[in-house]
Subunit: 152 residues, 2 copies
């Protein structure tokens, strides 16, 4: 049972999904720290390219081509940290992550699919890349709007 | 010049190396936060498999096969945050990171190579995987011994 749980845990990490009971054995504060670290890393590689769709950041094809595959991996990593045992740990996660968990999972899946699509077209033409960037941006913002506290 | 700097920055991220001047434009505290997040993520995926070589953790082939490719990507990400502008930001990085920078880079390269080797053999037989795990562990520990403060 122990081994089975752990195994299904890592499977979820690589899958598109979100694993509720995956790291239930890890301490809640560790889970929160790890999922926040995952988001920080996504920010590191999304930050320099996220503004290209709107023109806020000058378009740079090489940067997209380098960052997108990294983001594809990173996009899968934070979700198994959003387990219900972490509910009472101070973070910017809103209670809706758990009270409306199906919607949260759908939003997380949508983001991963949009990032996978970006990675797929990341060496393509500018219009296609910009469209994919724009889609990713929407999935980030949409989920943050619903499930993340606004205040810093 | 601006674009060039950024471009070389992301190139380093995917290369085996460590890029001193890469994110010189980013704020030192952001760089520290990002490199610490990178290390936290490495810990997340290394933790469940790191003890398998010594037998501290029961051997689990599937877990190695899942975590190793993620670690291969993660192993490349913290290094561009160790720029000299971050010297005075509170962290566990010892001054030797900069005063003996060539040695630090060598240690970081060694870790990345050991993790790449682990990923390469990660679906192989137990003895080979354990040997690769052991090598990775040595490169983590060796670098932490020399370049990271002991106290928590």
């Amino acid at each position: 049972m122990h081994g089975k749980l752990l195994l299904s845990g890592v499977a979820v990490v690589l899958g598109a999904g979100y694993g509720a009971a995956v790291f239930a054995q890890a301490k809640p504060d560790v889970l929160v720290k790890q999922r926040q670290a995952g988001m920080t890393m996504i920010g590191k590689y999304w930050g320099p390219i996220g503004g290209m769709a709107s023109g806020k950041t000058p378009y740079n094809a090489e940067r997209v081509a380098r960052n997108a595959p990294i983001l594809e991996v990173l996009s899968k990593l934070p979700w198994d940290g959003f387990v219900e045992t972490t509910k009472d740990v101070k973070s910017k996660a809103r209670p809706e992550v758990w009270s409306d968990n199906a919607k949260f999972k759908t939003a997380a899946d949508r983001m991963q699919k949009a990032v996978a699509q970006l990675a797929k077209v990341s060496t393509g033409d500018e219009a296609t890349v910009k469209s994919a960037l724009s889609e990713v941006g929407k999935t980030c913002g949409g989920c943050h709007d619903d499930f993340r506290e606004k205040s810093r």
